[in-house]
Amino acid sequence: MNGAAVLKRARRSLFGEFMAVITLIVLLLVAVLGWYAWHAEEQITTHRYLINLQEIALEKDNAIRAFINRQIAQVRLLGRMAENSRALEEIAAGFRQGGVDAPACREASARHRDRYFDLLTQGGYYDLFLIDLDGNIVFTIKHERDFGTNLNDPRYRNNGLAKVYRAAIERMEVTNSAFAFYPPSQEPAGFVATPLFDHGLLVGALAIQFDTKALYEEVNDLIGLGDSGEVVLARRLDGQHLQAIAPLRHDPDAAFKRTFAVDGGLSRPIIEATQGISGMGVATDWRGKRVMAVWHYLPALKAGMVVKVDVDEAMAPWRVVARTLLGVVALGMLLAYLLIYRFARSRTEPLSRLTAASYDYIAGDGSVDISDVAAINNETGVLADALGKMLAQIERGKAEQQRLLDDLAENNRQLDRRVAEQTAHLRAVIDHAADGIVVIDSDGIMQRVNPAVEAMFGYAEADLLGEDVTMLMPAHYRADHRHALERRRRSDDAPLMLSVELEGVRRSGEEFPLDIHVAEMRVGGERLFLGILRDISKRRKLEAAQRQLSLAVAHAEDAIFITDRNGVINYVNPAYARLSGYSADELIGKTPKMMKSGKMEKAFYQRMWKAILSGRQWRAEFVNRRRDGTLYEVDQSISPIKDDVGQVTGFVSVQRDITKEKQQREQLEHTQRLESLGVLAGGIAHDFNNLLTAILGNAALAKMRLEPTSPAVEMLDNVENASERAAALCKQMLAYSGKGKFVVEQVNLSELVEEMTSLLSVSISKSVVMRFDLSPQLPPIEADVAQMQQVVMNLVINASEAIGDRSGIITIHTGAVEVDADYIKTTYLKEHIQPGRYVALEVSDTGCGMDEETRKKIFDPFFTTKFTGRGLGMSAILGIVRGHHGAIKLYSEKGKGTTFKLLFPCAALEGGEQGKARGEEQRVVGSGSGTVLVVDDEETIRVTAAAMLEDAGFTVLTAEDGAAGVEMFRQRHDEIRAVLLDMTMPRMGGEEAFRHMRQIDPDVKVVLSSGYNEQDATSHFAGKGLAGFIQKPYSPKALQAKFVQLLAE
């Protein structure tokens, strides 16, 4: 196919597009401009024409008015002529004698007739009337049917003549009537009337009927209105119709015959004119033709006037101009089009030729001649020239290209050889790599594996190539792997490069950890992934072992640090950081010397270094110093760390904090010591009491046997005195040991102290003042009164002694306090009490106070600061308070004074009023009955308990130990309803006695009593049907209530 044919087949040509666009632009411009010019010109022409028409209309208006005014002026003049009044009076006088036909009337008329006839012709009137004051038309020229009628007659009242007559008579004005059809004349008529006066007195009126033809001539003077113009005069006939009152050009018979409907859609100008609206514009007239019109209202005729010309005629000159303009534009467009065509053709044709030539060249015609185009002196010529040179260059290039191709072929061969060598090289590297190498395509299919992979997974290469790489993965990785591949396939991000640790699966199914490096490669447009795999199962095992080890150390309860051979710390575990108060960062890089307390000798450390440097373990108790300066003790073992050849490379120290352990141990030892002392003291005091009883008794007996004057009496008195002091001492020892059995009741401490006031006063130094601050609303406590008194007395005496001979103050304060766990920790005997409400007894002095050392030992037995003291007072207080489940708090400052604060638990509020005399409220007289057996080795208890139960109405038997109790029960068990059984007794304890009694009577009701608490006591009797328990010391009320309740069941 040659170039020309190709061009013909092209769907669109440059030339065609050129022509289309330019033609469109020209057409659009001409159309828009033409349309605008046409309309503007039409509007301007219309406007000009209407202004012109308005001039004509105004002239017409003026002419009609002038006609009327002329008539009015003439009639007004007639009204001022005295002869007219005279004529009327004469004729009217005749008329009054017999109407118009009366001779007098005829005669008078005849006398004036000639003159009025002359007036009629001169004025151009149609008729002339004289009318008297009664409305009678007494004189006319024409003698039409109106002659002789009366204008006040309802038949004539509304005609034009009657109206102007009335205006003249009533308002004395000269005016014209509207133009209307007048029946007596059988044609349209208008009237003007004037009043007539005789010497200022109204006598009647003179009226004329003006000539209609003259008015019509004025109206139909159509100068300036062309061939179609006309003047329309119309009045309102009724609400719906207008009536023409003058002939029309297009309807000469229109006057008073043609009507126009108001709502007919036509004749807008005349409708508006009759409504009093002036205007101008283009409208449709009564014929339905488009007209240019100007309209006014004529008040003198009570009519509207329209002056109009057909649009066709008015616009005719403009139409000629417009048509010519259209023709010129059309011709101009034609010319423009031809010029454009010629121009566009001449510019696009060389381009077509060049295009064709290019195709021809491509098609193989090497001899293309475009020299004539190249001669054109514009872009096309330059293009042609360039094309020619280009073709020449292409020809030259072809030869060069062939040579280059040959060179290229040789290069390729060489390259092939080198590639083959390189490939072999690479292959060898891959085959001998220790790591597995796998290449997969973007579908996950293995393209290449190396021998290391075969070894690693246990497959042969042939088993792997072409297979999906997921076969080498555990099942749970496969989906992820496929998704990742899918994502990569769709992603255009930079090539992937990642390292992960995953598991692989060997042919045997064994899973093993793999270190995988994946790199994405683009080889020849294909996306491949290179995986380098390393079996790291051995490394993993090693790591796990190490992790376990370090975790063990890190979580060890014992404090551990590791140093190098020089003692520089390179590891501490959290426990050590906690213990020493230093953070790990502060410790690492330092030596343990910083923890030295200085409590240990140099030799100790030398021995240690000697031992550990020689590779032995060293274990010892160290006293070290924390970061905050406090000391702590550890049981530390230091082990050397040796390398493979047995060389010491560092040390590991394992320490256990034994600070607390040691303190506890010391505490325990102290307590045990005190306890054994108590046992000792109690035993001695018990026996001593017995001995003293004997001494005192014998001393008393001896005295009775002696004469009072015997010198031995005084000696015996000394014996008695010393014995009583010894007995008092024994009592204190018993109190300390807690063995001093006591009887509790509800005691109000405030009252107790109050009762002791005088006693205390005499017991203290004279220079000391006592102050009492006793709460009146104190809850009662359960206490032994005698012991409480002993406590108060001891404290006050001690306080007085602390003040000595100086003057000072002792204050005793009682009150109730809430005690919480924190507070309890600051007290002595803290292990015995629970948080709750307590009664406090506080004894303060302003004495010498105590130092730390004294405070520590204040309660130890036999510790005293006094030269004469026996060191039992404070220990007795401690024993008593312990026996009452209370606690002691001590405040003391050297040189300022001491305060002892004793806390006793509040008594449970069991009925009765507080503050009553002691013992009174506890009795439950007569509420029990039957026999109760009381078994207790302590006689005071036995007697007291018996008295309490008898008070409650029971009959009481007693036994002094378990065996006696069982025997008594065996004899009288029918009568005994309940047993109060002590738990610890010398001959047969409570437990065994209970067993025996059960054998005698399985339903026996036994209430156990003990100084131990209930749980300790009853644990030996679990499930054995014990009826109750009551803890010593007990109050009468508690005991009575227990038994009354038990036996009431």
Binding site: I51, M172, E173, T175, A178, T194, G276, S278, Y297, P299
Partner: protein, 420 residues
């Protein structure tokens, strides 16, 4: 070369378009003068007329103005003094350059302004009924001429009650001239003038007149008293026991605003007033006019004949300006004769020969609610006749000159003067 081809035509096109669409300068407003007494005894009557004038101007401006221009009213105060009227008219025309003046109430002020507008070939629109006997190419008279108000009333009253007329008026040119004409008219129909009495403008000394009326007992009283004196007059009448049943009074200068100012206890009820316009006229044009006025100035306000005439004046002038497409006074004067409109009172047209308007005479009775109820009206607008048939220009001129000279060269009795 290529660059020139682009930006040269583009710049030329932009320049031409800029020239074509450059905004035309806004045409200056058409200035019109509004000249009324805003102070002094006439202010109470003239202010509402000024308001009606401004209403018409506002309405035209609101509808887009005139020939694309706004109308700018220049308000001047005549201070109830005819000489001030003359000075202000002079100032409005020569200093403010107004095209036209809307203004005046009393004939005294009009007669002072007349030579000013004539000298400057300017134009005055005068809105009040007057005594006639005057005509000027430079004044458009929008109020009633004698044959449009007074003379029909004479006939109407004479045929209704009899021909013994008692004439009472304020002591200035209009009542004198009006009574002169009434007297002539009465004489022509055989009636008599029982008495003719004048009160100084603003005077409250009505007792003597009322006593005289009661004593002489005429058929009817024709009242041309202007201004506040009417309040005292009607009150004294009622106090004297004179009611519309015994001696009816027909007033020619008592309009709606004056009615509102009367005592509230029934003074003037049953008496009559003659005007061309009453607020109660029921036409669409009047309803729109009253609503517009009330909306602008308050629902409690009333409109009267002179206010309506003033409003018509502005509208007719605007029509004339539109017809000649120019605010030029000379052109407007030429076409004003051909203007007419459907006014609130009915059809109103300017009569070419006299510059007066065709108007419709009406008589109304004062109702108890102090509104007017029309009892008689002419069927069609009446041709204005400034010079009634019973006199002529020469006689009228002589009569007026005598008044003028008698008052010492002014159009109202000197302040101290009582009767002529």
């Amino acid at each position: 070369m290529g660059k020139w081809l682009l930006w040269l035509p583009v710049s030329v096109a932009l320049l031409v378009a800029g020239y074509a669409f450059y905004p035309q300068p806004v045409p200056p407003p058409i200035k019109v003068g509004v000249l009324h007494s805003l102070t002094g005894t006439m202010a109470i009557s003239e202010k509402p007329v000024m308001e009606a004038t401004l209403l018409a101007i506002d309405q035209i401006n609101a509808a887009g103005g005139l020939l694309g221009r706004k109308i700018k009213p220049v308000v001047a105060d005549g201070k109830s003094d005819p000489k001030v009227f003359a000075r202000e008219a002079e100032r409005l025309i020569s200093e403010e350059g107004v095209s036209v003046i809307f203004g005046c109430w009393t004939s005294a002020s009009r007669k002072e302004v007349k030579p000013v507008v004539e000298r400057h070939h300017s134009l005055l629109f005068y809105p009040v009924q007057y005594e006639g006997l005057e005509q000027s190419p430079n004044i458009v008279y929008l109020g009633a001429a004698p044959n449009q108000q007074i003379l029909p009333a004479v006939h109407w009253a004479a045929s209704k009650w009899g021909k013994r007329f008692y004439l009472v008026g304020s002591d200035y040119v209009f009542p004198h001239a009006a009574n002169w004409l009434i007297a002539k008219h009465l004489k022509a129909i055989g009636g008599t003038v029982v008495a003719e009495r004048y009160l100084p403008l603003g005077s409250k000394a009505v007792a003597a007149v009322v006593a005289d009326i009661k004593q002489s007992h005429p058929s009817v009283v024709f009242n041309t008293i202007n201004g506040d004196s009417n309040i005292a007059f009607f009150h004294a009448l009622r106090v004297a026991g004179i009611t519309a049943d015994t001696i009816p009074v027909v007033s020619f200068s008592v309009g709606e605003p004056q009615l509102a100012a009367l005592h509230h206890d029934g003074d003037a009820v049953g008496h009559y007033a003659a005007w061309n316009y009453f607020q109660t006229i029921d036409t669409p044009e009047n309803r729109a006019f009253v609503a517009a006025f009330k909306q602008r100035y308050g629902a409690d306000r009333v409109v009267s004949d002179p206010m309506e005439a003033a409003w018509i004046g502005v509208k007719l002038w605007a029509d004339a300006v539109r017809a000649v497409q120019s605010g030029d006074t000379t052109l407007v004067r030429q076409i004003i004769d051909h203007q007419g409109m459907r006014a609130p009172e009915g059809m109103v047209s300017i009569a070419e020969e006299s510059h007066h308007a065709w108007k419709t005479p009406r008589i109304a009775k004062i109702a108890a609610d102090r509104t007017f109820s029309v009892v008689w009206q002419q069927a069609d607008p009446v041709r204005p006749q400034p010079f009634p048939v019973l006199t002529d220009k020469a006689e009228a001129t002589r009569f007026l000159q005598q008044l003028y000279d008698g008052w010492g060269g002014q159009w109202q009795a000197p302040a101290a003067g009582g009767r002529k």
